[in-house]
């Protein structure tokens, strides 16, 4: 969790949809069983006959592979879970986690928001209600904020727009 300023209230946390994680899980599972499949197929095609020593060595290598895949799975989970937008009553924090060693935290103030766009494209995103939320900022140093595969993107857009309105109202009063 990021540290909010004094008096700042968290309104909403935007996470990626769990479908993204299911896809990652499937990918890791396929890569985990692929060596077994490969050895079985190659063994039957080339009639390979492994000596006990070679067999134990292959089992050893496979276990190492499973360790790597298991870690990979949790890295994906970390990426999925820590890649978040925190919408507060004063600003939006964009936390981008890529792997273990890359973490980027950007702050976007409401006065700089020019446009919030939602893009839901494809069968699964439409059925499961997830998509990309894109915030375009104003000013010379304009930059774009993008969260891909966000949960309930239309709801996120409404929350951001209403938070921005409330912020402007507070500023003008």
């Amino acid at each position: 969790m990021i540290k909010l300023e004094k008096g700042e209230k968290l309104i909403y946390e935007v996470h990626k949809h769990s479908f993204v994680f299911v896809v990652h899980t499937t990918k890791v599972f396929v890569f985990s069983v692929a060596p077994l499949f490969l050895v079985t197929v190659l063994g039957s095609i080339f009639s390979l006959n492994f000596s006990p020593k070679t067999l134990w060595f292959l089992i050893f290598l496979y276990m190492l592979w499973l360790v790597v895949m298991w870690m990979r799975y949790f890295v994906e989970w970390t990426d999925y879970y820590l890649d978040t937008w925190y919408v507060t009553d004063q600003k939006i924090y964009d936390v981008l986690q890529t792997g273990f060693f890359n973490r980027e935290v950007s702050v976007l103030r409401y006065e700089n928001i020019e446009d919030v766009t939602v893009r839901v494209s494809g069968l699964f995103p439409t059925l499961l209600d997830f998509g990309d939320v894109h915030i375009q900022t104003a000013g010379e140093d304009s930059s774009n904020f993008l969260l891909t595969s966000a949960c309930s993107p239309k709801e996120v857009r409404e929350i951001i727009v209403s938070a921005q309105s409330a912020y402007r109202d507070r500023g003008s009063s």
Binding site: F60, V67, L82, V95, F100
Partner: protein
């Protein structure tokens, strides 16, 4: 050339050398796991998620490493 190659293959497939590589691998895995725990604790990992990490991640990782060690032991003694 053939002698050098045979010597190289003989050395890299020697159980002692593989044990050494395996030890380095395990140390790297432990280091990265500790780092991942810290990442979770510091950046948004809730208590229930930390529990999942402790109950699911660590035991399964330990089982895989143990099985790898057993397989390497069997390889070393054959």
């Amino acid at each position: 050339m053939v002698t050098i190659w045979n010597s190289f293959i003989g050395n890299v497939t020697a159980p002692a050398f593989i044990w050494l590589l395996f030890s380095v691998f395990v140390l790297i895995v432990i280091g990265l796991s500790i780092f991942m725990f810290r990442l979770w604790r510091d950046y948004g990992g809730q208590e229930k998620h930390m529990l999942v990490m402790k109950i699911v991640y660590v035991p399964v990782l330990a089982i895989f490493i143990l099985l790898a060690a057993l397989a390497l032991t069997a390889f070393s003694f054959l």
